[in-house]
């Protein structure tokens, strides 16, 4: 009988929730739109950080001697460079003003003889990092051609080695956005959840249920389980969209990493944290309008601090430390461990422990305020 009561309450909650017009857009379409548009918006930023932006470069070779020609050829062939032509009648100032090129390289007559150096001029607004990179590139290539070295990078490989760690790699826009906005959507469930709680409190149906022989635990579970299940569905849907649809539109892949099954315990715990947040909001607010404002503001703040809206890796140190106050940060880092860092469960469980504590605190606060139930 208890199970029948529980399933009747879950069924009731699901029907009401799915019949509300705003639920599906709020819980499913909004996060998909956010993932899509924000990944698209951040694509350029990531392109800079991950693959490097190509520099639009005008190369003018006045010398036409073998060394000058070789230099021109090597610069043009470099993947960092996109060679463009100077529009007729444009001097360097006009080229930069109209963003036709970021830099101009001029190889003068007498270069081969060592009489004149290569001239470089940069767009004044070009990032110092790019200027430096182009300068190093041209310097390196000039040394190569002048000294007759085929591959200076290959020669120096014995002396300089770049070390990378997978867990320190900046995740791509989809690797970052798909779990990030899924978490955001999962926490957004606090809005319909708290509104539902308070509406039932205000219209008296919650109190009426308690006039029947049914335990408060069943009533509370009957309200929590549907939202918990919706949280799981949200994440599954976002993941499917992330894997199969978004890479077709955005020029970055989304991969599940080496241990995709770790997603299951992480998602179960994140869903507990987000439903806990919803119950806490419902317990603290007095009216549905208040709960909706509280839940939305809370979710946005947690997203801002938690590295969902602005990637944690690009935050200043103070923000990186503040991020740890947001449960979304721990959830996001747990997913990044799985999808982007191929981390083992040993790296994930401390994050799950933090989220579990957050969920328990939320349920405890709601329990203390449970009088209204």
């Amino acid at each position: 009988m208890t199970f029948r009561k529980l399933t009747a309450l879950i069924r009731k909650e699901m029907i009401i929730l799915l019949r509300e017009r705003q639920t599906i857009p709020l819980l499913f379409i909004m996060p998909m739109a956010l993932i899509f548009f924000l990944s698209l918006a951040l694509q350029g930023v990531y392109m800079d950080k991950l693959t490097g932006r190509q520099i639009l470069l005008i190369i003018e070779n006045e010398s036409h001697q073998p060394t000058a020609n070789l230099l021109e050829q090597r610069i043009s062939a470099n993947k960092m460079i996109q060679r463009v032509q100077r529009p007729p009648g444009f001097d360097n100032d006009k080229v930069f003003e109209t963003s036709r090129a970021h830099a101009v390289i001029f190889i003068p007559k007498g270069f081969d003889e060592g009489l004149k150096p290569v001239e470089m001029e940069f767009d004044p607004v070009l990032d110092a990092g790019y200027k430096s990179a182009v300068r190093v590139l041209v310097t390196g290539l000039t040394v190569e051609v002048v000294m007759g070295i085929d591959d200076i990078e290959g020669m120096s490989a014995d002396f300089i080695v770049e070390k990378t760690k997978t867990n320190r790699t900046l995740p791509g826009p989809l690797q970052n956005s798909v779990p990030g906005w899924s978490i955001f959507a999962m926490f957004f469930i606090a809005i319909p959840m708290s509104i539902g709680f308070l509406r039932e409190k205000n219209d008296g149906t919650l109190q009426r249920i308690f006039t029947y022989p049914v335990s408060p635990a069943i009533v509370i579970l009957g309200k929590l389980i549907p939202y918990y299940l919706i949280n799981l569905m949200q994440f599954a849907l976002m993941l499917i969209v992330g894997i199969y649809i978004l890479p077709l539109i955005i020029a970055f892949p989304f991969t599940l990493g080496e241990h995709p099954w770790h997603v299951i315990p992480v998602t179960l715990v994140v869903a507990a944290a987000s439903t806990g947040f919803g119950v806490m909001v419902a317990a603290l607010a007095r009216a549905p309008e208040q709960s909706s404002a509280l839940a939305a503001t809370g979710a946005v703040l947690m997203a801002v601090f938690g590295g969902i809206m602005v990637p944690h890796a690009v935050m200043p140190l103070i923000m990186k430390k503040l991020a740890m106050l947001s449960p979304m940060y721990w959830a996001h880092q747990a997913y990044l461990d799985i999808f982007s860092r191929d981390a083992g469960f040993g790296s994930i469980w401390p994050k799950l422990a933090v989220l579990t504590v957050f969920a328990l605190v939320c349920f405890y606060i709601a329990g203390r305020k449970v009088k209204w139930m």
Partner: protein
């Protein structure tokens, strides 16, 4: 047999130091006693804030921590069995607006412990009784005020309770719906169900009920047979005064 027996109930929403009877505590009910016989229709009257709704909520187990005792057909009201004997139609229309009448019946019927077959049978019966059967598959949010009141009553009748508690069952409804509700209540009462009717409509109370209990500021100020009273409204005002109770 006593359908409802309330003996010296005292209740405060803000008990001092966790004790109910303490100096300084504000009482919603104080030494309140009342009994309703089986098959009786009993009026519970009082001005706003007198403690009527609090009493209903104590009887139905929504509020706890009172002193005294409340028994329903001889069983204390904190037993599940006694709750199953009570049908309660609260003053606010407490049904799920997003569900149809039949879906509402299913939720509340399962909570009351009705079997699948009985639930089906009782749902049809009470919806027919309240004139809602033709609208059983429509969402409650599309109902008029009168239909919602009848649905509120139908939920209370669903599990065939032996004691019916009605808190302002006809407030805000048109004369047709009110008449329909009265007729339903008369039939229920004639079938042996005890009814406690809480209302501000004195004519309604005088016509329908055989006994009356008046309370004010949480205490009984009159209890007796309805036929001892000539004009209930005049008597009520004489007992409770003419002063407005807006700030009480």
């Amino acid at each position: 047999m006593k359908a409802l027996d309330i003996a010296q109930v005292t209740f405060s929403y803000n008990p001092k130091e966790g004790k109910i009877k303490t100096a300084g505590a504000e009482y919603a009910l104080r030494d309140f006693s009342m009994s309703v016989d089986s098959g009786q229709m009993h009026a519970l009257l009082g001005p706003n804030g007198a403690g009527k709704t609090t009493l209903m909520r104590l009887i139905t187990g929504q509020l706890r921590g009172f002193q005294g005792s409340i028994s329903i057909y001889g069983t204390r009201n904190d037993h599940a069995q006694s709750l199953s004997s009570v049908g309660y139609a609260p003053q606010p229309i407490s049904v799920y607006a997003g569900l149809t009448a039949m879906e509402n019946m299913r939720v509340f019927g399962v909570m009351a412990g009705l079997s699948r077959e009985l639930l089906q049978e009782r749902s049809r019966a009470v919806l027919e009784e309240t004139g809602l059967l033709p609208y059983a598959q429509k969402r409650a949010s599309t109902y008029s005020g009168g239909m919602l009141r009848r649905l509120n009553l139908a939920v209370a009748l669903l599990h065939a309770p032996r004691l019916l508690l009605l808190d302002e069952p006809t407030v805000g409804v048109d004369p047709q719906s009110r008449n329909h509700i009265y007729e339903t209540l008369k039939k229920m009462n004639a079938s042996g169900i005890a009814i406690v009717l809480c209302t501000h409509i004195m004519d309604e109370a005088q016509r329908m009920c055989s006994k009356v209990t008046m309370l004010d500021r949480g205490a009984v100020i009159f209890s007796g047979a309805m036929n001892e009273i000539d004009h209930l409204e005049t008597f009520f005002l004489a007992q409770t005064g003419h002063r407005l109770r807006d700030e009480d």
